[in-house]
Protein backbone atom coordinates (compact mmCIF):
# COMPACT_ATOMS: atom_id res chain seq x y z
CA UNK A 1 0.00 0.00 0.00
CA UNK A 2 2.32 2.66 -1.25
CA UNK A 3 1.08 5.55 -3.39
CA UNK A 4 -2.55 6.64 -3.73
CA UNK A 5 -4.34 5.09 -6.69
CA UNK A 6 -7.54 7.03 -6.42
CA UNK A 7 -8.26 10.17 -4.43
CA UNK A 8 -11.76 11.46 -3.93
CA UNK A 9 -11.75 15.06 -2.68
CA UNK A 10 -14.87 16.77 -1.34
CA UNK A 11 -17.06 14.96 -3.86
CA UNK A 12 -20.65 16.15 -3.99
CA UNK A 13 -23.47 14.96 -6.24
CA UNK A 14 -26.84 16.62 -6.67
CA UNK A 15 -29.77 15.15 -8.53
CA UNK A 16 -32.10 17.72 -10.02
CA UNK A 17 -35.55 16.79 -11.09
CA UNK A 18 -38.14 19.38 -12.02
CA UNK A 19 -36.62 22.24 -10.05
CA UNK A 20 -36.17 20.25 -6.83
CA UNK A 21 -32.60 19.39 -5.95
CA UNK A 22 -31.67 16.38 -3.91
CA UNK A 23 -28.18 16.19 -2.51
CA UNK A 24 -27.09 12.58 -2.80
CA UNK A 25 -23.49 13.06 -1.71
CA UNK A 26 -21.72 15.76 0.26
CA UNK A 27 -18.08 16.37 1.17
CA UNK A 28 -16.96 12.85 0.40
CA UNK A 29 -13.21 12.59 0.84
CA UNK A 30 -11.21 9.37 0.86
CA UNK A 31 -8.51 7.59 -1.07
CA UNK A 32 -7.60 4.10 -2.17
CA UNK A 33 -3.98 2.88 -2.31
CA UNK A 34 -2.58 0.37 -4.80
CA UNK A 35 -3.65 -3.15 -3.90
CA UNK A 36 -5.97 -2.01 -1.14
CA UNK A 37 -9.63 -2.84 -0.57
CA UNK A 38 -11.82 -0.07 0.74
CA UNK A 39 -15.24 -1.18 1.92
CA UNK A 40 -18.10 1.26 1.50
CA UNK A 41 -20.98 0.43 3.78
CA UNK A 42 -24.31 2.05 4.53
CA UNK A 43 -28.01 1.43 4.31
CA UNK A 44 -30.10 1.76 1.14
CA UNK A 45 -30.11 5.29 -0.20
CA UNK A 46 -27.01 6.30 1.73
CA UNK A 47 -25.22 7.14 -1.53
CA UNK A 48 -22.72 4.29 -1.67
CA UNK A 49 -23.68 3.24 -5.18
CA UNK A 50 -23.58 6.87 -6.33
CA UNK A 51 -19.95 7.15 -5.21
CA UNK A 52 -19.06 4.10 -7.29
CA UNK A 53 -20.93 5.43 -10.29
CA UNK A 54 -19.37 8.87 -10.20
CA UNK A 55 -15.91 7.30 -10.09
CA UNK A 56 -16.88 5.29 -13.17
CA UNK A 57 -18.19 8.42 -14.90
CA UNK A 58 -21.79 7.22 -14.94
CA UNK A 59 -22.99 10.04 -12.69
CA UNK A 60 -21.47 13.51 -13.18
CA UNK A 61 -20.03 14.98 -9.97
CA UNK A 62 -21.50 18.34 -9.00
CA UNK A 63 -18.64 19.38 -6.73
CA UNK A 64 -15.20 18.17 -5.77
CA UNK A 65 -12.49 16.35 -7.69
CA UNK A 66 -11.54 12.78 -8.53
CA UNK A 67 -7.90 11.98 -9.09
CA UNK A 68 -6.80 8.66 -10.55
CA UNK A 69 -3.07 7.89 -10.74
CA UNK A 70 -2.28 11.58 -10.36
CA UNK A 71 -4.65 12.64 -13.12
CA UNK A 72 -7.84 14.67 -12.71
CA UNK A 73 -10.70 12.52 -14.02
CA UNK A 74 -13.60 14.51 -12.55
CA UNK A 75 -14.99 15.41 -15.97
CA UNK A 76 -13.19 12.89 -18.16
CA UNK A 77 -14.31 12.79 -21.80
CA UNK A 78 -15.52 9.63 -23.52
CA UNK A 79 -12.15 9.11 -25.17
CA UNK A 80 -10.45 9.57 -21.79
CA UNK A 81 -12.90 7.07 -20.22
CA UNK A 82 -12.02 4.58 -22.90
CA UNK A 83 -8.37 4.99 -22.00
CA UNK A 84 -9.16 4.83 -18.28
CA UNK A 85 -11.11 1.62 -18.68
CA UNK A 86 -7.79 -0.18 -19.09
CA UNK A 87 -7.08 0.61 -15.45
CA UNK A 88 -10.55 0.86 -13.95
CA UNK A 89 -13.32 -1.72 -14.24
CA UNK A 90 -16.63 -2.57 -12.65
CA UNK A 91 -18.60 -5.56 -11.34
CA UNK A 92 -22.30 -4.91 -10.79
CA UNK A 93 -24.77 -6.47 -8.42
CA UNK A 94 -27.16 -8.37 -10.63
CA UNK A 95 -25.46 -11.16 -12.56
CA UNK A 96 -28.64 -11.62 -14.60
CA UNK A 97 -28.59 -8.19 -16.22
CA UNK A 98 -24.87 -7.57 -16.29
CA UNK A 99 -24.14 -9.92 -19.19
CA UNK A 100 -25.38 -9.31 -22.74
CA UNK A 101 -27.79 -12.24 -23.25
CA UNK A 102 -27.15 -12.55 -26.99
CA UNK A 103 -23.38 -12.91 -26.78
CA UNK A 104 -21.50 -16.08 -25.89
CA UNK A 105 -19.20 -16.00 -22.86
CA UNK A 106 -16.26 -15.70 -25.22
CA UNK A 107 -17.92 -12.72 -26.93
CA UNK A 108 -18.57 -11.06 -23.58
CA UNK A 109 -15.00 -11.53 -22.37
CA UNK A 110 -13.39 -10.60 -25.68
CA UNK A 111 -15.43 -7.41 -26.10
CA UNK A 112 -13.36 -5.15 -23.81
CA UNK A 113 -10.17 -6.59 -25.33
CA UNK A 114 -11.31 -6.01 -28.91
CA UNK A 115 -12.48 -2.49 -28.00
CA UNK A 116 -8.90 -1.73 -26.98
CA UNK A 117 -7.67 -2.97 -30.34
CA UNK A 118 -6.33 -6.37 -29.32
CA UNK A 119 -6.44 -8.83 -32.25
CA UNK A 120 -8.78 -11.81 -32.37
CA UNK A 121 -6.19 -14.54 -31.76
CA UNK A 122 -4.65 -12.81 -28.80
CA UNK A 123 -8.12 -12.08 -27.38
CA UNK A 124 -9.11 -15.74 -27.70
CA UNK A 125 -6.00 -16.80 -25.82
CA UNK A 126 -6.68 -14.25 -23.09
CA UNK A 127 -10.30 -15.45 -22.75
CA UNK A 128 -9.10 -18.99 -21.92
CA UNK A 129 -6.72 -17.55 -19.35
CA UNK A 130 -9.53 -15.49 -17.78
CA UNK A 131 -11.93 -18.43 -17.54
CA UNK A 132 -9.21 -20.39 -15.83
CA UNK A 133 -8.54 -17.44 -13.52
CA UNK A 134 -12.15 -17.39 -12.28
CA UNK A 135 -12.35 -21.21 -12.13
CA UNK A 136 -14.79 -21.73 -14.98
CA UNK A 137 -14.27 -24.67 -17.37
CA UNK A 138 -12.76 -23.63 -20.70
CA UNK A 139 -15.70 -25.09 -22.63
CA UNK A 140 -17.78 -22.29 -21.06
CA UNK A 141 -16.49 -19.97 -23.81
CA UNK A 142 -18.97 -21.12 -26.44
CA UNK A 143 -22.03 -21.05 -24.19
CA UNK A 144 -24.60 -18.34 -23.52
CA UNK A 145 -25.13 -16.52 -20.19
CA UNK A 146 -28.51 -18.17 -19.63
CA UNK A 147 -26.79 -21.54 -19.29
CA UNK A 148 -25.06 -20.42 -16.09
CA UNK A 149 -26.12 -20.02 -12.49
CA UNK A 150 -25.95 -16.68 -10.66
CA UNK A 151 -22.60 -17.47 -9.08
CA UNK A 152 -21.11 -18.60 -12.36
CA UNK A 153 -22.41 -15.51 -14.12
CA UNK A 154 -20.82 -13.33 -11.49
CA UNK A 155 -17.54 -15.14 -12.18
CA UNK A 156 -17.96 -14.23 -15.85
CA UNK A 157 -18.56 -10.61 -14.84
CA UNK A 158 -15.42 -10.70 -12.71
CA UNK A 159 -13.45 -12.25 -15.57
CA UNK A 160 -14.66 -9.47 -17.86
CA UNK A 161 -13.54 -6.87 -15.32
CA UNK A 162 -10.12 -8.56 -15.16
CA UNK A 163 -9.71 -8.79 -18.93
CA UNK A 164 -7.66 -5.61 -19.25
CA UNK A 165 -5.64 -6.15 -16.06
CA UNK A 166 -7.06 -3.11 -14.26
CA UNK A 167 -5.57 -1.41 -11.19
CA UNK A 168 -8.95 -0.68 -9.64
CA UNK A 169 -12.24 -2.59 -9.73
CA UNK A 170 -15.39 -0.92 -8.47
CA UNK A 171 -17.55 -3.70 -7.04
CA UNK A 172 -21.13 -2.57 -6.57
CA UNK A 173 -22.77 -5.13 -4.26
CA UNK A 174 -21.15 -7.94 -6.24
CA UNK A 175 -22.37 -10.75 -3.98
CA UNK A 176 -25.73 -9.46 -2.73
CA UNK A 177 -27.69 -11.39 -5.34
CA UNK A 178 -26.01 -14.69 -4.48
CA UNK A 179 -26.80 -17.27 -1.80
CA UNK A 180 -24.52 -17.55 1.23
CA UNK A 181 -22.24 -20.40 0.19
CA UNK A 182 -21.81 -18.93 -3.30
CA UNK A 183 -21.11 -15.54 -1.71
CA UNK A 184 -18.29 -17.06 0.30
CA UNK A 185 -16.69 -18.62 -2.76
CA UNK A 186 -16.98 -15.48 -4.86
CA UNK A 187 -15.53 -13.36 -2.05
CA UNK A 188 -12.59 -15.75 -1.72
CA UNK A 189 -12.08 -15.43 -5.46
CA UNK A 190 -11.92 -11.64 -5.10
CA UNK A 191 -9.31 -11.95 -2.36
CA UNK A 192 -7.27 -14.48 -4.32
CA UNK A 193 -7.28 -12.28 -7.43
CA UNK A 194 -6.10 -9.33 -5.38
CA UNK A 195 -3.27 -11.36 -3.91
CA UNK A 196 -2.15 -12.47 -7.38
CA UNK A 197 -2.63 -9.28 -9.38
CA UNK A 198 -2.35 -6.56 -6.77
CA UNK A 199 -5.43 -4.71 -7.95
CA UNK A 200 -7.39 -2.44 -5.62
CA UNK A 201 -11.10 -2.73 -4.88
CA UNK A 202 -13.73 -0.21 -3.96
CA UNK A 203 -16.16 -2.64 -2.44
CA UNK A 204 -19.70 -1.36 -2.03
CA UNK A 205 -22.01 -3.42 0.15
CA UNK A 206 -24.77 -3.10 2.70
CA UNK A 207 -23.66 -6.35 4.30
CA UNK A 208 -21.17 -5.89 7.13
CA UNK A 209 -19.96 -9.45 7.24
CA UNK A 210 -19.08 -9.18 3.53
CA UNK A 211 -17.24 -5.91 4.12
CA UNK A 212 -15.40 -7.37 7.09
CA UNK A 213 -14.33 -10.35 5.03
CA UNK A 214 -12.70 -8.48 2.16
CA UNK A 215 -11.78 -4.94 3.26
CA UNK A 216 -8.64 -3.40 4.67
CA UNK A 217 -10.33 -0.13 5.47
CA UNK A 218 -14.01 0.72 5.88
CA UNK A 219 -15.99 3.88 5.17
CA UNK A 220 -19.42 4.18 6.73
CA UNK A 221 -21.91 6.30 4.85
CA UNK A 222 -25.18 7.78 6.09
CA UNK A 223 -27.42 10.10 4.07
CA UNK A 224 -24.69 11.04 1.64
CA UNK A 225 -22.04 11.83 4.24
CA UNK A 226 -19.12 9.88 5.65
CA UNK A 227 -19.84 9.28 9.33
CA UNK A 228 -16.85 7.13 10.14
CA UNK A 229 -13.82 5.60 8.47
CA UNK A 230 -10.80 3.63 9.50
CA UNK A 231 -9.24 0.19 9.71
CA UNK A 232 -11.63 -2.72 9.35
CA UNK A 233 -10.99 -4.03 12.88
CA UNK A 234 -11.58 -0.70 14.58
CA UNK A 235 -14.74 0.24 12.67
CA UNK A 236 -16.41 -3.14 12.81
CA UNK A 237 -15.63 -4.06 16.42
CA UNK A 238 -15.38 -0.74 18.24
CA UNK A 239 -17.11 2.01 16.25
CA UNK A 240 -17.12 5.60 17.54
CA UNK A 241 -20.10 6.96 15.66
CA UNK A 242 -23.60 6.13 17.00
CA UNK A 243 -24.91 5.47 13.48
CA UNK A 244 -22.13 2.94 12.88
CA UNK A 245 -22.87 1.36 16.24
CA UNK A 246 -26.51 0.94 15.28
CA UNK A 247 -25.55 -0.39 11.86
CA UNK A 248 -23.28 -3.00 13.43
CA UNK A 249 -26.00 -3.97 15.89
CA UNK A 250 -28.60 -4.41 13.19
CA UNK A 251 -26.81 -7.44 11.73
CA UNK A 252 -28.65 -10.42 13.27
CA UNK A 253 -26.82 -13.10 15.28
CA UNK A 254 -27.51 -16.82 14.88
CA UNK A 255 -27.82 -17.37 18.67
CA UNK A 256 -31.35 -16.35 19.84
CA UNK A 257 -30.18 -15.40 23.34
CA UNK A 258 -27.39 -13.21 22.06
CA UNK A 259 -29.73 -11.74 19.49
CA UNK A 260 -32.26 -10.81 22.21
CA UNK A 261 -29.55 -8.99 24.17
CA UNK A 262 -28.39 -7.26 21.03
CA UNK A 263 -31.92 -6.14 20.23
CA UNK A 264 -32.30 -4.59 23.68
CA UNK A 265 -28.96 -2.85 23.34
CA UNK A 266 -29.98 -1.54 19.93
CA UNK A 267 -33.22 -0.21 21.35
CA UNK A 268 -31.30 1.62 24.07
CA UNK A 269 -28.99 3.17 21.46
CA UNK A 270 -31.97 4.32 19.45
CA UNK A 271 -33.59 5.99 22.46
CA UNK A 272 -30.30 7.67 23.39
CA UNK A 273 -29.73 9.04 19.93
CA UNK A 274 -33.30 10.35 19.78
CA UNK A 275 -32.82 12.08 23.10
CA UNK A 276 -29.59 13.60 21.86
CA UNK A 277 -31.31 14.87 18.75
Amino acid sequence: MSEQLLSVDKLGVDFTRRRTTFTALEEITFSIAEGETVGLVGESGSGKTTIGRSILGLVPPTRGTLTFRGEDITHASRAKRRELSRDMQVVFQDPYTSLNPSLTIEGILAEPLRAQGIDRREAGRRVKELLDRVRLPSDAAGRLPREFSGGQRQRVAIARALALRPRLIVCDEPVSALDLTTQQRVLDLFIEIQRDTGCAYLFVSHDLSVIRHVSHRVIVLNRGKIVESGGVEKVTSDPDDPYTQRLMMSAPLPDPGAQRERREELEKLRVDSERAA
Binding site: L58, M88, Q89, F92, T97, S98, S102
Partner: protein
Amino acid sequence: MLSFIAKRTLLALSQMLVISAVAFFLLYLSSSGIARTILGEQATEEQVAAKTAELGLDRPLPVRYVEWLLGVFQGDLGRSYFTPQDVSDALISRLPTTLSLLIATTIIAALIAFALGIAAAVYRGWLDRLVQILSIAGYAIPGFLFALLLVIVFAINLGWLPATGYVQLTTDPLGWLKTVILPIAALSIGVIAATAQQVRGAVIDVLRQDYVRTLRSRGLSEREIIFKHVLRNASGTGLTVLGLQFVGLLGGAIVVEQIFALPGLGTVAIQYTSRGDIPVVMGLLIITSLIVAVVNLLVDLGVGFLNPKARVA
Protein backbone atom coordinates in the same frame (compact mmCIF):
# COMPACT_ATOMS: atom_id res chain seq x y z
CA MET B 1 -31.29 -24.41 -38.14
CA LEU B 2 -32.49 -26.64 -40.97
CA SER B 3 -34.54 -28.82 -38.65
CA PHE B 4 -36.02 -25.64 -37.19
CA ILE B 5 -37.15 -24.50 -40.64
CA ALA B 6 -38.47 -27.97 -41.47
CA LYS B 7 -40.46 -28.16 -38.25
CA ARG B 8 -41.89 -24.70 -38.75
CA THR B 9 -42.85 -25.45 -42.34
CA LEU B 10 -44.59 -28.63 -41.29
CA LEU B 11 -46.43 -26.75 -38.58
CA ALA B 12 -47.50 -24.07 -41.04
CA LEU B 13 -48.76 -26.69 -43.51
CA SER B 14 -50.84 -28.44 -40.86
CA GLN B 15 -52.24 -25.09 -39.78
CA MET B 16 -53.27 -24.33 -43.35
CA LEU B 17 -54.87 -27.76 -43.63
CA VAL B 18 -57.00 -27.15 -40.55
CA ILE B 19 -57.94 -23.62 -41.62
CA SER B 20 -58.94 -24.74 -45.10
CA ALA B 21 -60.99 -27.69 -43.78
CA VAL B 22 -62.88 -25.58 -41.26
CA ALA B 23 -63.55 -22.85 -43.82
CA PHE B 24 -64.60 -25.32 -46.51
CA PHE B 25 -67.14 -27.08 -44.32
CA LEU B 26 -68.49 -23.88 -42.80
CA LEU B 27 -68.90 -22.16 -46.16
CA TYR B 28 -70.66 -25.07 -47.87
CA LEU B 29 -72.82 -25.99 -44.89
CA SER B 30 -74.04 -22.43 -44.48
CA SER B 31 -74.92 -21.80 -48.12
CA SER B 32 -77.79 -23.76 -49.59
CA GLY B 33 -79.11 -23.56 -53.11
CA ILE B 34 -75.90 -22.51 -54.79
CA ALA B 35 -77.11 -23.63 -58.21
CA ARG B 36 -80.34 -21.69 -57.74
CA THR B 37 -78.38 -18.54 -56.89
CA ILE B 38 -76.24 -18.92 -59.98
CA LEU B 39 -79.11 -19.59 -62.40
CA GLY B 40 -81.56 -17.08 -60.96
CA GLU B 41 -85.22 -17.29 -59.95
CA GLN B 42 -86.49 -18.12 -63.45
CA ALA B 43 -84.60 -21.40 -63.82
CA THR B 44 -86.59 -24.64 -63.79
CA GLU B 45 -86.09 -27.45 -61.29
CA GLU B 46 -84.40 -29.55 -64.00
CA GLN B 47 -81.95 -26.82 -64.86
CA VAL B 48 -81.07 -26.40 -61.17
CA ALA B 49 -80.57 -30.15 -60.76
CA ALA B 50 -78.38 -30.27 -63.87
CA LYS B 51 -76.26 -27.35 -62.62
CA THR B 52 -75.92 -28.98 -59.18
CA ALA B 53 -74.67 -32.16 -60.80
CA GLU B 54 -72.34 -30.20 -63.11
CA LEU B 55 -70.72 -28.44 -60.14
CA GLY B 56 -70.55 -31.75 -58.25
CA LEU B 57 -72.59 -30.31 -55.39
CA ASP B 58 -74.71 -33.47 -55.11
CA ARG B 59 -71.79 -35.50 -53.84
CA PRO B 60 -70.84 -35.79 -50.12
CA LEU B 61 -68.96 -32.82 -48.64
CA PRO B 62 -65.85 -34.73 -47.38
CA VAL B 63 -65.27 -36.16 -50.85
CA ARG B 64 -65.51 -32.69 -52.36
CA TYR B 65 -63.02 -31.35 -49.80
CA VAL B 66 -60.46 -34.04 -50.56
CA GLU B 67 -60.86 -33.41 -54.29
CA TRP B 68 -60.43 -29.68 -53.78
CA LEU B 69 -57.35 -30.27 -51.61
CA LEU B 70 -55.74 -32.54 -54.21
CA GLY B 71 -56.39 -29.81 -56.75
CA VAL B 72 -54.72 -27.22 -54.54
CA PHE B 73 -51.55 -29.30 -54.36
CA GLN B 74 -51.47 -29.28 -58.17
CA GLY B 75 -52.00 -25.53 -58.29
CA ASP B 76 -55.65 -25.83 -59.31
CA LEU B 77 -57.96 -23.80 -57.11
CA GLY B 78 -61.10 -24.63 -59.05
CA ARG B 79 -63.39 -22.46 -61.10
CA SER B 80 -65.39 -19.37 -60.20
CA TYR B 81 -69.17 -19.94 -60.05
CA PHE B 82 -70.08 -16.67 -61.70
CA THR B 83 -67.34 -15.86 -64.17
CA PRO B 84 -65.80 -18.25 -66.67
CA GLN B 85 -62.43 -17.93 -64.98
CA ASP B 86 -60.03 -20.17 -63.12
CA VAL B 87 -59.72 -19.04 -59.50
CA SER B 88 -55.93 -19.18 -59.66
CA ASP B 89 -55.89 -16.90 -62.72
CA ALA B 90 -58.25 -14.43 -61.08
CA LEU B 91 -56.18 -14.26 -57.92
CA ILE B 92 -52.65 -14.50 -59.24
CA SER B 93 -53.16 -11.52 -61.54
CA ARG B 94 -54.15 -9.49 -58.46
CA LEU B 95 -51.51 -10.81 -56.09
CA PRO B 96 -48.58 -8.58 -57.16
CA THR B 97 -50.56 -5.40 -56.46
CA THR B 98 -51.43 -6.40 -52.90
CA LEU B 99 -48.06 -7.95 -52.14
CA SER B 100 -46.08 -4.97 -53.42
CA LEU B 101 -48.30 -2.70 -51.36
CA LEU B 102 -47.91 -4.77 -48.19
CA ILE B 103 -44.18 -5.33 -48.51
CA ALA B 104 -43.47 -1.66 -49.27
CA THR B 105 -45.65 -0.64 -46.34
CA THR B 106 -43.90 -3.03 -43.98
CA ILE B 107 -40.39 -1.94 -44.98
CA ILE B 108 -41.18 1.77 -44.79
CA ALA B 109 -43.13 1.40 -41.55
CA ALA B 110 -40.34 -0.69 -40.01
CA LEU B 111 -37.67 1.89 -40.81
CA ILE B 112 -39.73 4.77 -39.45
CA ALA B 113 -40.93 2.84 -36.40
CA PHE B 114 -37.44 1.67 -35.39
CA ALA B 115 -36.01 5.16 -35.89
CA LEU B 116 -38.78 6.76 -33.81
CA GLY B 117 -38.70 4.07 -31.12
CA ILE B 118 -34.92 4.21 -30.71
CA ALA B 119 -34.88 8.02 -30.73
CA ALA B 120 -37.64 8.17 -28.11
CA ALA B 121 -35.86 5.66 -25.87
CA VAL B 122 -32.44 7.28 -26.18
CA TYR B 123 -33.34 10.96 -25.95
CA ARG B 124 -36.47 10.66 -23.75
CA GLY B 125 -37.81 14.08 -22.69
CA TRP B 126 -40.09 15.99 -25.07
CA LEU B 127 -39.22 13.85 -28.09
CA ASP B 128 -40.31 10.74 -26.20
CA ARG B 129 -43.57 12.37 -25.17
CA LEU B 130 -44.23 13.51 -28.73
CA VAL B 131 -43.64 10.00 -30.09
CA GLN B 132 -45.93 8.59 -27.40
CA ILE B 133 -48.75 10.99 -28.24
CA LEU B 134 -48.38 10.42 -31.99
CA SER B 135 -48.32 6.66 -31.41
CA ILE B 136 -51.54 6.68 -29.46
CA ALA B 137 -53.18 8.93 -32.05
CA GLY B 138 -51.87 6.80 -34.91
CA TYR B 139 -53.12 3.66 -33.26
CA ALA B 140 -56.54 5.14 -32.49
CA ILE B 141 -57.26 6.57 -35.94
CA PRO B 142 -58.51 3.83 -38.27
CA GLY B 143 -56.56 3.38 -41.50
CA PHE B 144 -59.51 4.06 -43.77
CA LEU B 145 -60.27 7.40 -42.09
CA PHE B 146 -56.68 8.40 -42.51
CA ALA B 147 -56.85 7.25 -46.13
CA LEU B 148 -59.86 9.49 -46.81
CA LEU B 149 -58.09 12.41 -45.14
CA LEU B 150 -55.01 11.86 -47.33
CA VAL B 151 -57.15 11.76 -50.46
CA ILE B 152 -58.88 15.02 -49.55
CA VAL B 153 -55.66 16.86 -48.75
CA PHE B 154 -53.13 15.52 -51.24
CA ALA B 155 -55.27 14.40 -54.16
CA ILE B 156 -58.22 16.79 -54.17
CA ASN B 157 -57.04 20.02 -52.50
CA LEU B 158 -53.37 20.01 -53.45
CA GLY B 159 -53.68 17.79 -56.52
CA TRP B 160 -50.16 16.39 -56.06
CA LEU B 161 -51.06 12.73 -56.37
CA PRO B 162 -53.80 10.76 -58.08
CA ALA B 163 -56.74 9.85 -55.85
CA THR B 164 -57.39 6.50 -57.48
CA GLY B 165 -55.94 4.15 -60.08
CA TYR B 166 -52.94 1.89 -60.38
CA VAL B 167 -49.91 1.52 -62.62
CA GLN B 168 -47.89 -1.69 -62.68
CA LEU B 169 -44.48 -1.43 -61.06
CA THR B 170 -42.92 -3.19 -64.03
CA THR B 171 -44.39 -0.86 -66.66
CA ASP B 172 -43.74 2.51 -65.03
CA PRO B 173 -41.93 2.61 -61.66
CA LEU B 174 -42.47 6.36 -61.17
CA GLY B 175 -46.15 6.06 -62.01
CA TRP B 176 -46.41 3.12 -59.62
CA LEU B 177 -44.81 5.19 -56.88
CA LYS B 178 -47.33 8.01 -57.43
CA THR B 179 -50.27 5.67 -57.16
CA VAL B 180 -49.07 3.84 -54.06
CA ILE B 181 -47.71 6.68 -51.91
CA LEU B 182 -51.09 7.50 -50.39
CA PRO B 183 -52.20 3.88 -49.82
CA ILE B 184 -48.83 3.08 -48.20
CA ALA B 185 -49.09 6.15 -45.98
CA ALA B 186 -52.61 5.18 -44.92
CA LEU B 187 -51.59 1.60 -44.13
CA SER B 188 -48.30 2.37 -42.40
CA ILE B 189 -49.63 4.74 -39.79
CA GLY B 190 -51.05 2.01 -37.52
CA VAL B 191 -48.04 -0.25 -38.02
CA ILE B 192 -45.63 2.58 -37.16
CA ALA B 193 -47.65 3.50 -34.09
CA ALA B 194 -47.72 -0.03 -32.67
CA THR B 195 -44.16 -0.98 -33.59
CA ALA B 196 -42.53 2.28 -32.43
CA GLN B 197 -44.09 1.83 -29.00
CA GLN B 198 -42.74 -1.72 -28.66
CA VAL B 199 -39.28 -0.79 -29.92
CA ARG B 200 -39.18 2.15 -27.50
CA GLY B 201 -40.12 -0.07 -24.56
CA ALA B 202 -37.63 -2.78 -25.48
CA VAL B 203 -34.76 -0.32 -25.98
CA ILE B 204 -35.49 1.37 -22.64
CA ASP B 205 -35.49 -2.02 -20.95
CA VAL B 206 -32.14 -2.97 -22.44
CA LEU B 207 -30.60 0.44 -21.70
CA ARG B 208 -31.36 -0.11 -18.02
CA GLN B 209 -29.36 -3.34 -17.91
CA ASP B 210 -26.07 -3.40 -16.07
CA TYR B 211 -24.12 -4.63 -19.08
CA VAL B 212 -24.98 -1.39 -20.87
CA ARG B 213 -23.85 0.52 -17.78
CA THR B 214 -20.59 -1.46 -17.91
CA LEU B 215 -20.09 -0.45 -21.54
CA ARG B 216 -20.77 3.20 -20.67
CA SER B 217 -18.23 3.10 -17.87
CA ARG B 218 -15.70 2.04 -20.45
CA GLY B 219 -16.35 5.15 -22.52
CA LEU B 220 -17.99 3.50 -25.53
CA SER B 221 -19.89 5.99 -27.69
CA GLU B 222 -23.66 6.00 -27.50
CA ARG B 223 -23.83 4.99 -31.16
CA GLU B 224 -21.66 1.92 -30.60
CA ILE B 225 -23.68 0.93 -27.56
CA ILE B 226 -27.02 1.29 -29.34
CA PHE B 227 -26.15 -0.34 -32.64
CA LYS B 228 -23.74 -3.04 -31.47
CA HIS B 229 -25.23 -4.11 -28.16
CA VAL B 230 -28.71 -2.74 -27.49
CA LEU B 231 -30.45 -3.12 -30.81
CA ARG B 232 -29.65 -6.78 -31.14
CA ASN B 233 -31.41 -7.52 -27.87
CA ALA B 234 -34.24 -5.08 -28.40
CA SER B 235 -35.21 -5.69 -32.02
CA GLY B 236 -36.74 -9.12 -31.45
CA THR B 237 -39.77 -7.49 -29.88
CA GLY B 238 -40.12 -4.99 -32.72
CA LEU B 239 -39.82 -7.73 -35.31
CA THR B 240 -42.50 -9.86 -33.65
CA VAL B 241 -44.92 -6.95 -33.50
CA LEU B 242 -44.13 -6.13 -37.11
CA GLY B 243 -45.04 -9.69 -38.10
CA LEU B 244 -48.37 -9.43 -36.30
CA GLN B 245 -49.01 -6.05 -37.88
CA PHE B 246 -48.33 -7.49 -41.33
CA VAL B 247 -51.08 -10.01 -40.77
CA GLY B 248 -53.38 -7.18 -39.70
CA LEU B 249 -52.38 -5.31 -42.86
CA LEU B 250 -53.98 -8.02 -44.99
CA GLY B 251 -57.29 -6.93 -43.53
CA GLY B 252 -56.46 -3.23 -43.76
CA ALA B 253 -55.51 -3.64 -47.42
CA ILE B 254 -59.06 -4.70 -48.29
CA VAL B 255 -60.47 -1.36 -47.23
CA VAL B 256 -57.60 0.77 -48.46
CA GLU B 257 -57.56 -0.92 -51.88
CA GLN B 258 -61.23 -0.19 -52.14
CA ILE B 259 -60.76 3.51 -51.33
CA PHE B 260 -57.90 4.01 -53.81
CA ALA B 261 -59.46 1.63 -56.38
CA LEU B 262 -56.39 -0.58 -56.53
CA PRO B 263 -56.92 -3.87 -58.38
CA GLY B 264 -55.63 -6.07 -55.59
CA LEU B 265 -56.81 -9.07 -53.62
CA GLY B 266 -58.88 -6.83 -51.36
CA THR B 267 -61.11 -5.69 -54.19
CA VAL B 268 -61.52 -9.32 -55.29
CA ALA B 269 -62.41 -10.31 -51.75
CA ILE B 270 -65.21 -7.76 -51.52
CA GLN B 271 -66.57 -8.51 -55.00
CA TYR B 272 -66.67 -12.26 -54.73
CA THR B 273 -67.52 -12.74 -51.09
CA SER B 274 -70.69 -10.69 -51.36
CA ARG B 275 -71.75 -12.81 -54.33
CA GLY B 276 -71.08 -16.06 -52.47
CA ASP B 277 -68.51 -17.34 -54.93
CA ILE B 278 -67.12 -20.04 -52.65
CA PRO B 279 -64.25 -21.33 -54.85
CA VAL B 280 -62.79 -17.82 -55.09
CA VAL B 281 -63.21 -17.24 -51.35
CA MET B 282 -61.44 -20.52 -50.61
CA GLY B 283 -58.66 -19.53 -53.00
CA LEU B 284 -58.25 -16.20 -51.22
CA LEU B 285 -58.13 -17.99 -47.91
CA ILE B 286 -55.39 -20.35 -49.03
CA ILE B 287 -53.28 -17.56 -50.50
CA THR B 288 -53.60 -15.26 -47.49
CA SER B 289 -52.89 -18.04 -45.01
CA LEU B 290 -49.84 -18.98 -47.09
CA ILE B 291 -48.64 -15.36 -46.91
CA VAL B 292 -49.19 -15.32 -43.14
CA ALA B 293 -47.33 -18.62 -42.70
CA VAL B 294 -44.36 -17.37 -44.74
CA VAL B 295 -44.22 -14.09 -42.82
CA ASN B 296 -44.35 -15.90 -39.47
CA LEU B 297 -41.55 -18.20 -40.53
CA LEU B 298 -39.44 -15.23 -41.63
CA VAL B 299 -40.08 -13.43 -38.33
CA ASP B 300 -39.10 -16.50 -36.31
CA LEU B 301 -35.92 -16.91 -38.32
CA GLY B 302 -35.15 -13.21 -37.97
CA VAL B 303 -35.65 -13.23 -34.22
CA GLY B 304 -33.53 -16.37 -33.89
CA PHE B 305 -30.78 -14.80 -35.99
CA LEU B 306 -30.74 -11.66 -33.85
CA ASN B 307 -31.02 -13.38 -30.54
CA PRO B 308 -29.68 -16.86 -29.89
CA LYS B 309 -31.72 -16.94 -26.70
CA ALA B 310 -34.87 -17.34 -28.76
CA ARG B 311 -33.43 -20.08 -30.97
CA VAL B 312 -35.67 -22.96 -30.02
CA ALA B 313 -35.75 -26.22 -31.88
